[in-house]
């Protein structure tokens, strides 16, 4: 027996569990997306294989391209830009902050992350509601705020997701920044590099694998955000904030079209895969 095979033995239980609880549902969902399985009605009793019928239906459905676009906007604005940039900025700023400021600021940021998703969602709903906290504060300075959830639903859910998820990125980047060797930044400083140059040419390259990992995690997490949007806007008004998870839920459980819903879920896997490949390619380790 080769050494390779022997080394695989300790991995076997983990692989088996993953196959059972991760791969299994994925494969079942993939299979389901080629059938007209429903929760009720005639096709619940006798689901049929309809090939690419669900995918053809998706392409013909005007809600789908819109939903796909909203999902990409949501992921890009709230995870890729919002959570990552803000998380990195906070981590950097807090490193040089005095101790009480650092403790208070990180507690506030982490609080949003510690909240259960449903509680965070209701808090965000109460904040952005027409008679909510935000408009009450704006009224205090003489500004009449719009009904955020109605007139700018995507902005509201993007801001809410940034608020909720930044803590995770901040913690990842705090850890990563602590690992940057101080002699590297000091050397750059002696060579006359200013703050922005040190960040761009020293710090970011050193922590790029943390960036890659963090981007991937926040993207995949944001891609599957459901509760936050569902509670805040229900995907509306109309379908103006229906991202793919909301659309999939509506089709699978509100209209009982499980097959069609799983086709949308399959598209989500593809979207997640595309983002992941981009990260891995763009931030591939060159020399180490």
């Amino acid at each position: 027996m080769s050494r390779g095979a022997a080394r695989a033995v300790p991995l076997a239980p983990a692989v088996a569990l993953l196959a059972l609880f991760m791969l299994g549902p994925v494969v079942w969902s993939f299979y389901g997306s080629f059938t007209n399985t429903a929760l009720t009605g005639p096709t619940a009793a006798n689901p049929e294989w309809i090939g690419l019928g669900n995918y053809a239906g998706l392409l013909a459905d005007p809600d789908f391209p819109k939903s796909l676009w909203l999902t990409v906007v949501f992921v890009f604005a709230s995870a890729v830009v919002g959570q990552n940039v803000l998380g990195l900025a906070l981590a950097g700023l807090l490193r040089s902050a005095v101790r009480p400021v650092r403790s208070i600021a990180s507690t506030v940021v982490v609080a949003a992350w510690v909240l259960p998703e449903i509680v965070a969602a209701f808090a965000a709903y109460a904040f952005f509601h027409a008679d909510g906290t935000l408009n009450a504060m704006l009224a205090g300075i003489g500004v009449t705020g719009p009904d955020w959830l109605y007139s700018t639903p995507m902005l509201a859910v993007v801001l809410a997701n940034i608020w909720r998820g930044t803590a995770f990125s901040m913690m990842v980047y705090s850890a990563a920044l602590a690992e940057v060797p101080p002699d590297l930044t000091e050397a750059a400083q002696l060579d006359g590099a200013n703050g922005a140059q040190r960040l761009a040419w020293v710090t970011l390259p050193v922590i790029r694998r943390s960036i890659s990992t963090n981007l991937m995690l926040t993207t995949l997490q944001t891609l599957s955000v459901f509760t936050l949007i569902y509670v805040m806007t229900g995907g509306g008004p109309g379908t103006d904030s229906s991202t793919l998870p909301i659309l999939a839920y509506q089709e699978a459980f509100k209209f009982a079209q499980v097959g069609y819903g799983t086709a949308i879920a399959t598209v989500m896997i593809v979207v997640g895969g595309v983002f992941s490949v981009i990260y891995i390619r763009a931030l591939r380790p060159e020399v180490d």
Partner: protein, 452 residues
């Protein structure tokens, strides 16, 4: 799926035989009177604990009367939509399918098509209390094949609620009774003129309120036009009544007689209307369900002891006052028996016990339901349970049930979309109706539609 289920069947046969042999040896020999377990699935969520209480009582009575039979209660803690999902998932597998289930009239037709339910006609024919149930309510338990699959527990009706103070301010009588849509619009305009800060008329509209928009809002209009949604197994497209109903919605929203679209599209408007606007006189007239007083009782979410003096009711008129002059929509819940049950006799026996006179009376009063048994409807304990009970019980005569086929949820969604685009002024009623026609034809197929 298919391979999995045939595998189950192959395995199930010898396993069942192996299990059945020792069981048969232990059994006392009586068929149907031996040891058996009946599982009963129902919803228990938030304030809704009445079904739980009912079934706990029935379980005790039933087990005492039928020694050897165990009733296993399976409360499903989920909101309405998730309850359907969980119940459907339970029904999909023979291992978890319940013997008796608390089943929405709205789901019966599609669950029959899915093969989840057992026809009860043979049992009902022998049940001497079945003729106590009113005919319109029996309809709600029918499958598309004309057989009965659910025994109704109670129903609900819909009509106009109004705040008498607000109407008095606008010079309208305390016994206001509109006889056409125009009467409603006139009253609403009068209220707007007397106090511009009051919302004259509320009807639910658009997607956030979901089925409430369609049933309490749109269908209360459409079924009063003489047109209908579904006829002889086909969906009616291009009807004048559909356009007229959307026109009414356009009128109330564009003239500012209804809440602003922002308010109307808030997911919580239902609670706001019932708990704040009507009691505070911020809304004049509201098109809503018979269960509203449940909120205002001592035990409700917004106790309001004076409601019976402040609030008036009127039937929703038909479009131009055509016979029968009023219209209502009904839903409600039934008890149904699972198609795969191994103890159908016992399961029906349980249903009959749970819905006898005494238990129906208790459930209808406790859950603010409209009675479907004539002996309950006449009982003073029921008629005196709240001052509007009599009014809403009478509406059962003019009520309609939704065409709850398996396509209905998607058709209902298309109606919400049409309502929303009209109320926000994005489309004219004709344009929205044309989009609806196209959407529905796409959902059900041209061969299942007819021109109205």
């Amino acid at each position: 799926m298919r391979t999995a289920s045939s595998l189950t069947r192959v395995l199930a046969a010898p396993v069942t035989v192996a299990l059945a042999l020792p069981l048969a040896a232990c059994g006392t020999g009586g068929s149907g009177s031996g040891d058996a377990t009946i599982t009963v699935a129902y919803q228990k969520f938030g304030n809704f604990t009445q079904a739980d209480e009912l079934f706990k009582n029935v379980k005790a009575d039933y087990e005492e009367a039928n020694p050897g039979i165990t009733v296993e209660l399976v409360p499903i803690e989920a909101a309405q939509n998730d309850y359907f999902t969980k119940l459907a998932l339970m029904n999909r597998s023979p291992a978890t399918a319940p013997d008796v289930m608390y089943e929405d009239t709205y789901m019966i037709k599609s669950d029959v098509e899915a093969g989840y339910l057992l026809p009860l006609d043979d049992y009902l024919a022998e049940w001497d209390e079945w003729d106590q149930f009113v005919d319109s309510a029996k309809q709600a338990g029918l499958g598309d094949d004309g057989r009965t699959y659910g025994v109704p527990m109670g129903t609900d009706t819909r009509g106009l609620w109004f705040n008498k103070d607000v109407l008095a301010e606008a010079g309208l009588p305390a016994d206001w009774a509109p006889s056409s849509w125009d009467d409603i619009l006139e009253a609403a305009r009068a209220i707007k003129q007397s106090d511009p800060d009051v919302i004259p008329f509320n009807m639910y509209s658009g997607k956030p309120m979901g089925e409430a928009s369609v049933m309490q809002g749109f269908e209360m209009l459409l079924y009063g036009t003489g047109d209908t949604l579904y006829e002889d197994g086909r969906w009616v497209l291009g009807s004048q009544g559909f356009v007229d109903s959307l026109e009414f919605i356009e009128t109330v929203f564009s003239e500012g007689l209804a809440p602003t679209p922002q308010q109307a599209l808030d997911t919580n408007i239902g609670n706001t209307v019932q708990a704040e606007w009507l009691p505070d006189g911020k809304v004049g007239i509201a098109l809503d369900g018979s269960w509203l007083p449940g909120n205002w009782l001592e035990s409700g979410v917004a106790p309001w002891p004076e409601w019976s003096e402040k609030i008036g009711t009127a039937a929703m008129p038909t479009q131009n006052g055509a016979a029968p002059g009023a219209v209502s929509m009904s839903g409600g819940w039934t008890l149904a028996v699972g198609a795969g049950t191994e103890v159908p006799d016992e399961a029906f026996e349980f249903v009959a016990t749970a819905l006898n006179r005494e238990n129906s009376l208790w459930f209808d009063v406790a859950n603010s339901q409209i009675a479907v048994r004539t002996d309950v409807a006449e009982d003073p304990e029921y008629t005196e349970s709240n001052p509007t009970t009599g009014f809403f019980t009478d509406l059962v005569d003019v009520t309609h049930f939704r065409p709850a086929t398996s396509d209905y949820p998607q058709v209902s969604n298309a109606i919400m979309v049409a309502m929303e685009s009209v109320m926000t002024g994005q489309q004219t009623p004709e344009e929205a109706a044309a989009v609806y026609d196209e959407t529905v034809a796409g959902i059900v197929g041209d061969e299942h539609t007819t021109q109205g």
